[in-house]
Symmetry: C2
Subunit: 306 residues, 2 copies
């Protein structure tokens, strides 16, 4: 049976590239036939990565059969995985998020979670010297994952270890990091094809603050104007999206990668209060700039208060 390797729903670059890298390693190095699949349409940066390195877009699956051998990467949260995940034969988990609880296995398996910026960095450690035998496309995918998750080393989640690996891969591949990252971020910033509701759900996690459920959405971009020009329509879409998804409110943080700041849209008093209490911001109008804020994991989620 071919082992399926996948990340979370709403695949970003790490959740698209890391399964491809791990499926290569399992198949070619370990000798366990494996295939990367996706749980949704990849975002525009992930699609750029596939095209740039000549990788086929992995098949998109909607569920897993009972007993299907799977490796889960870039998440350990059942809410971000197929509803039937605990009936699958989970063979391994490789992740860099906090432990949520909820996944269960029938036997002891390989689980590797590390507080690093990127799943691909953990995989490189697990691959050891085999990484040097990886085709350029695999190294290119892993480099793209690290530059994406670290926002080219600007995000506070970046560790020296992520950076050293990215620099080594870029050296091997003859890639200039600043020019390549600019191409990646331009691809990520091109969100013209998406509806407001799609933008609000594109890179989003649910999080409860004292019983109130939020959808905490982030859009990382080098062209914040492209998103903020649609501010009114985005705020209008928040109500229906929140209602449909069973949360109280959508929070949209537009992260300006180059200026290293986030703009939070403020559609109502609930978000105004939250912005003031969480970030000590003084809010006037329907948006507030939060200097230095780039990471949902490190800076936004831990700060949220009501």
């Amino acid at each position: 049976m071919t082992t399926l390797v996948f990340g979370h729903k709403s695949p970003d670059t790490d959740s698209t590239g890391s399964p491809i890298a791990w499926a290569w390693y399992l198949t070619e190095v370990v000798g366990t036939p494996a295939k990367a699949v996706l749980l949704g349409e990849p975002n525009t940066e992930a699609a750029f990565m596939l095209q740039r390195w000549g990788l086929e877009k992995p098949e998109i699956i909607s569920g897993v059969a009972e007993g299907q051998a799977v490796v889960i990467v870039d998440t350990n949260n059942p809410a971000e995985l197929p509803a039937d995940i605990n009936a699958a034969d989970i063979r391994a988990i490789i992740d860099h998020h906090k432990l949520v609880g909820g996944l269960e296995t029938a036997e002891p398996i390989d689980i590797t979670i590390r507080p690093l910026a990127c799943t691909a960095t953990i995989m490189a450690d697990l691959m050891g010297s085999s990484l040097s035998t990886a085709p350029e496309a695999i190294k290119g995918a892993m480099l793209t994952c690290i530059l994406s998750d670290t926002l080219e080393f600007r995000s506070p989640t970046t560790t020296d270890h992520d950076r050293a690996l990215a620099e080594r891969l870029a050296g091997d591949l003859g890639v200039e990091i600043p020019a390549y990252a600019a191409e990646m971020f331009a691809a990520k910033s091109d969100v013209s094809a998406f509806s407001e509701a799609e933008l609000l759900r594109m890179d989003s996690k649910e999080y409860a603050v004292g019983g109130t459920k939020f959808r905490v959405s982030v859009l990382e971009t080098t062209s914040p104007g492209m998103v903020l020009d649609r501010k009114a329509a985005l705020m209008e879409a928040m109500g229906p999206v929140a209602a449909e998804d069973g949360v109280e409110q959508v929070l949209l943080f537009v992260v300006d990668i180059l200026n290293e700041e986030a703009t939070l849209l403020v559609p109502n008093d609930l978000v105004k209060t939250l912005a003031e209490k969480s970030f000590g911001a003084s809010v006037s109008g329907d948006a507030v700039v939060l200097p230095g804020v780039m990471s949902r994991k490190k800076q936004i989620i831990p700060a949220l208060k009501l």
Copy 2:
């Protein structure tokens, strides 16, 4: 703040020795002050290990303070940990059991779970070349953990990796494995000081079979007669222990390490049916011998049916 390193309640050799080894590594190699502690009285084999290698018995704690930095080893099951464990600052988990779910962390942390026989083997991999700088007492503790969890390589949980490490450590220490393991197992087999209720709870895990809760207890011994001579009293103690612990029935498997078989006590029809359905045994009388059965994890728990 000193980081506390501990295993599960009812500490066996691995849950006593592995915390000691990891606290050494954190303190002396990583530079993070750490201390091994216990969640209960160590069993007789663990006590032998401490005495044999000149190690102080770790302090026994009954709970952890909110925000206390802890490393959890040899379990990921909240039921085997202090009730307040999720309020602690869990820094890492190192384990070789199936993922149970229930532990949660506030941030991404280091989690390493591997399908190996022994926690100490995983630690050796994580320590890398630092292991060679460990004092003899640390190497001796790690060797003892591996020989204990593998029943001197007889248990089907044993991997080549566990075995190779044990042989390397024994070589370094000038220890003859067969003679040393015999001493360990003699210590483990000396259960004369324990009451029947203590024996039933000494190495025990709760497990539900189709809604019926069992306490699945194992006594590994080279002197099965010493336990089986107390069969009547053990069966009499099962009712009160089950009632007190909120389970339907205690299952006691007396594992004969040298003859590689287990004897299951059969106090009633419930256990008789379970023995027949689970192990294809034909039961007459109040005990049944199960040839080759040595591992709760690999052979007993996966087989249980009603």
